[in-house]
């Protein structure tokens, strides 16, 4: 899985590409921990390059969502591929997480 960081104002953006599975989910946990500096509250996680997500990936995303919420921040996921969307729907994640089609829409909402 490729992980890239960027920043838009105070909003931290993490883009994921490839597979998020039992092997790579811990890499995402680590990347989030690095991005979650004390001044960081709002996050966008771009998933348009993610082709595969298993329950290990879902658990990592859920953990991140809890940490963001605990700091009264906001988290938006964007660009779900068909494969990832299906797993989000079957697990009910689409009802508990904020999802936008594009990064731009997410940034506008967080602005």
């Amino acid at each position: 899985m490729d992980i890239t960081h960027s920043q838009h104002g105070s909003i931290r953006i993490i883009a994921l590409k490839g597979r998020m599975d039992a092997v790579t989910a811990p890499l995402f946990d680590k990347a989030f921990a690095e991005a979650a500096t004390p001044d960081a509250a709002d996050f966008v996680i771009q998933l348009d390059g993610l082709e595969y997500i298993s329950s290990a990936g879902l658990r990592s995303i859920l953990m991140v969502a809890k940490q963001v919420k605990a700091k009264n921040g906001r988290l938006i996921l964007t660009g779900l591929t068909d494969e990832v969307r299906e797993v989000f729907h079957l697990s009910g994640f689409h009802t508990i997480l904020r999802i936008c089609d594009t990064k731009e829409a997410a940034l506008a909402e967080l602005a």
């Binding site: 298993s54 329950s55 290990a56 658990r59 079957l90 697990s91």
Partner: protein
Amino acid sequence: MIRVEHLSKRFGNLEVLKDINAEIAQGEVISIIGPSGTGKSTFLRCLNLLDQPSGGRIEIDGQDILAPKANVPALRRRMGMVFQSFNLFAHLTVLENLTIGPVRLLAKPPGEAMTKGLELLRMVGLAEKAHSFPDELSGGQKQRVAIARCLSMDPEIILFDEPTSALDPTMVSEVLAVIRRLARQGMTMAIVTHEMEFARDVSTRVFYMDEGLIYEEGPPEQIFDHPQRQRTRDFIGKVRSLSYQVTSADYDLYALVGKIEGFCEKHLIPPRPAHGAQLLAEEALGILLSHPGPHDIHLTLAYSEKQRHLELRLDSRGPPGNPLETADLPDDLALAIIRNYTEDIGYERVGERNCLRLRVK
């Protein structure tokens, strides 16, 4: 007519037949099917002692043909054999091929043998080739002559060892038509064949051989439509499979993913089930590995070309119980994924192993 008990055959260290038990009654047509190298031809060759069995017992009408005092030539004459490679005498005409045995071995008068030979050649549709030499015939014609030659010895049973395997596909049907005709006439036959439709039509019983055993036997409807055992099902369903062994939670997920991707690509499996197979493998292994070790998990991904089913099988050593139901999991996510990507989930306990079958949706 023929009773086989605990028949075994070794070639050096190679145990080809392990424990064959079978009975063939008069008038039966037995098709012997199974993967290559499982001892089908060796079984036939042991029946008429072309290969000497390593152990066991073969009785013909109550006579033990492996007994030291058995009259093997006389017993062997009661069984005809038709080979894949015809084995005709190239220097004799077709008719001479049919008369040499009856005249020399059965002491029949030449005139009588010739009349019978011509009658048999008419029966297999080759009377006009009576004075041709084998080299002048096509493969299908040679095999029909071989069948006629076999019949010229008045056998009580005919053993066919892949009679159409060496033939051009266009010639298979002419040979099968002759065998079908013999079946209708009540000839007792045992036929090793890869022609499944033929075996289904012509047989009274089918022996499915695997692992050096008659792994499953039954009427053609059972073997071809409702096979009872896994290997029979795989063979009949033309199942292709890949296997992967997992012994620890640190298994190489990407080696497994690579194998699954390659397998799905090779068998032209559509992207949705191919993706599902990867997810199911990761989630099911995660659950199995959450049970206390040591771990011994055998994963098989099986694709039936006939039914177009993709199935993930995981058999694991452990206490009895469906591992999906007995696992102590932190949440339902893995199970939700498994339920979503499967059409059917099956579990059975086999020996000391839990066998889980996930049919990919």
